[in-house]
């Protein structure tokens, strides 16, 4: 039985003070959840689909269809999600009616952090005890290495979200050190589940670029295709083997399509780099952009097509030479209050 120490008014006052950070009461959130479910069923009815099997993806699609918006920021567009995702998690009131806090570490200030540290250290001691037992029994220590390379620890922000309270940098680093110590112990696989709560899989970093094999024409000539773009110009190139070095763009010879020497030099560069000037024929199609952009786009497309003809080392050389990267430079947007993207209006003193 709880002993009511203080009067009800004092308790209510303290409760009111604590409800400052708590903007959403539990009743409010429950109501939001009911409304959300009802709305979901209504939406499913509207779209003509089954209300029982209406997933979040379907909701997103329906909303995007019913309320199309041209805003660039995805977070600014109309949204319908489960209230737990929309409203951030709240700390419920930590103490009861008599003012006694529920948790024993409440008065440390960072109760969840210290409780977490205690728990982790308990697991740590557990593992050490298990290890001692195994060495006493002379059993081989199991070593199944966790894949440390494919996972990472939680970031400070993620830890804060988990614990619902602020974590300082020092505290965070101490926690991570403890976790690492625990993970490096040989018998740590007992506590595997616990550790997995605090680690995340890192997605595959490098998408290995697949080099397409050569395709063969009807006459038996090997060829390969490549696509390239530069600043609104898109180009596709088909490079044939056993050629004389003739290049055709949109059905027109390069001498006529690119009367300027600079553009032709751009086209020449991939072949010159690999030393295969007279060996390949090329047929390309290009659209959009201007003269120089089209030349750059064809250069990228031909370099990509040439990858199939060439060894991996040379592909690496090409990549380092910058032949395979898309040029990110695009026309910069004009800002209001300025005449151009960077140029300001003429400054007059008076």
């Amino acid at each position: 039985t709880l002993r009511l120490i203080c009067t009800t008014t004092a308790v209510q006052k303290r409760n009111v003070a604590a409800s400052g950070p708590e903007k959403y009461t539990e009743a409010f959130i429950k109501k939001q959840i009911e409304e959300f479910n009802l709305g979901k069923r209504h939406l499913a009815n509207m779209m003509g689909e089954d209300p029982e099997t209406f997933t979040q993806e379907d909701i997103d699609r329906a909303i995007a269809y019913l309320f199309p918006s041209g805003l660039f920021d995805k977070r600014a567009r109309p949204l319908m999600k489960h209230p737990t995702e929309v409203f951030p998690e709240q700390r419920k009131i930590q103490w009861g009616e008599d003012g006694r806090p529920f948790h024993f570490l409440f008065y440390t200030g960072k109760q969840s952090y210290y409780s977490l540290m205690h728990e982790t250290y308990e697991k740590f001691l557990n593992v050490q005890k298990h290890q001692d037992q195994l060495t006493a029994q002379d059993l081989p220590l199991q070593k199944e290495k966790r894949n440390l390379a494919g996972s990472r620890w939680l970031t400070k922000i993620e830890l804060e979200e988990m614990l619902l309270e602020k974590v300082s940098d020092n505290d965070y680093s101490r926690f991570i050190q403890l976790l690492q110590k625990l993970a490096t112990l040989p018998c740590a696989d007992i506590e595997e589940k616990y550790i997995q709560k605090f680690s995340k899989e890192v997605p595959v970093q490098l998408q290995k670029v697949v080099i397409e094999p050569l395709q063969h024409d009807e006459r038996g000539v090997a060829f390969s295709t490549g696509e390239g773009k530069r600043k609104t110009a898109r180009a596709t190139a088909v490079v044939y083997d056993n050629g004389t070095g003739k290049i055709t763009v949109n059905g027109i010879d390069i001498l006529h399509y690119f009367p300027v020497l600079q553009d032709r030099e751009q086209l020449l560069f991939p072949f010159q780099f690999l030393g295969r000037i007279g060996k390949h024929d090329m047929v390309c199609t290009v659209s959009g952009g201007g003269r120089s952009a089209q030349a750059g786009a064809i250069r990228l497309a031909s370099a990509k097509a040439l990858r199939s003809f060439v060894t991996e080392k040379e592909v690496e050389f090409m990549r380092q030479a910058g032949l395979l990267t898309v040029d990110p430079r695009v026309k910069e947007r004009k800002k209001p209050g300025q005449e151009g993207p960077r140029r300001k209006f003429t400054w007059k003193k008076r």
Partner: protein, 342 residues
């Protein structure tokens, strides 16, 4: 110089004095600069020129003159082919009427006078006198041989009687600038008649023949446009290019660079000459001039190397040669411009 097909792709030399004598006004500007730099004139023997020469050698001069039209893309060597043929003919001893660029006669003319001979025609004294001077320089030896057939009256006091040497006509034109165009007309007429009777063959070489049938940029004093027929020079030249005389040959070139009001991608005779011109020149032998063949390219490259024209170290390697070939697309003019700064 006698050339057969074995010489294709090689370059042959023309001594400098002959150059001045035969081509006072005929060679393209860049080629003249090259002559000055290298101190010699080297012309490449190419297939189209050889074709024309074989036809000329084999043609029967009793028939009306055969017309050859040289055409091709920009910068492939049409004017040079023409000069080659002209040189050959002058070596053989033919009479040569060489018009370097007919486009000069239909544009950018400062003075236009009404002709005294016919009322509605217009004269161009400047260009006519320039041309007469060059004609005199190139055909010195023949001016005395040919005699006039008709009496020409140049104005109130001067006139030329029958049977006088052509030299007098030419000098009359040079002295009296006003009647220079009429002098040109008279000259052409005489030469045509001459070709029919006399032992001398006549070669009419016109560069930029499409100027004769297109439009002009000139206008009369009341700002109305002038059609080419109203110009005396053009009219006389057209008469010459008609097929009604025998004992010679006509070689013409079509050039897009100087032509007026024609798109830059047009290079076939039909497009550049227009309907009128095509009909007027109708039975002709077309001779296309392509870009350099690999052999010709190599010989040109070798010539530049030999003359130390290519200074860049990389230009001497195989790769450099492949690059030049790629970048110029085997076009002679492009190759020339590329090799310039190197």
């Amino acid at each position: 110089a006698k050339h057969t097909e074995q010489h294709e792709g090689r370059l042959y030399n023309i001594p400098l004095e002959e150059v001045k004598a035969v081509f006072p006004h005929g060679l393209p500007h860049r080629f003249q600069q090259q002559i000055q730099t290298f101190n010699e004139a080297r012309l490449m023997v190419r297939r189209p020129a050889l074709e024309i020469l074989t036809y000329l050698k084999g043609s029967n001069f009793a028939h009306p003159a055969v017309r050859y039209v040289i055409y091709g893309e920009r910068g492939t060597g049409k004017t040079m082919t023409l000069c080659h043929v002209v040189h050959y003919c002058s070596r053989q001893g033919w009479l040569v009427v060489h018009v370097p660029d007919a486009h000069l006669w239909v544009k950018n003319c400062k003075e236009l006078f009404q002709s005294s001979y016919k009322k509605d025609r217009l004269d161009q004294p400047l260009q006519a006198s320039v041309w007469l001077k060059n004609f005199k320089a190139s055909n010195e030896r023949f001016l005395d041989e040919i005699k006039t057939q008709k009496k020409y009256i140049w104005g109130k006091r001067e006139s030329t009687e029958e049977g006088r040497p052509l030299r007098e006509v030419v000098e009359q034109g040079l002295a009296r600038v006003r009647s220079a165009s009429d002098a040109v007309g008279a000259l052409l007429r005489e030469l045509r008649l001459q070709g029919q009777r006399g032992p001398r063959r006549l070669l009419v070489a016109v560069d930029g023949a499409n100027a004769l049938w297109g439009r002009t940029t000139l206008s009369k004093e009341d700002k109305s446009p002038v059609s080419p027929e109203e110009l005396t020079l053009v009219h006389n030249l057209r008469k010459t290019l008609r097929n009604d005389w025998s004992g010679g040959a006509i070689v013409t070139t079509l050039s897009q660079t100087g032509s007026l009001f024609k798109p830059s991608s047009a290079y076939t005779p039909q497009e550049l000459l227009g309907k009128e011109g095509f009909d007027a020149l109708d039975p002709f032998v077309p001779i296309p001039v392509p870009n350099y063949s690999p052999r010709e390219f190599e010989s040109c490259y070798g010539y530049y190397l030999e003359r130390r024209w290519l200074q860049h170290e990389k230009a001497h390697t195989e790769d450099g040669k492949a690059e030049l070939r790629f970048l110029s697309g085997s076009n002679p003019r492009q190759l020339d411009r590329l090799a310039g700064p190197l």
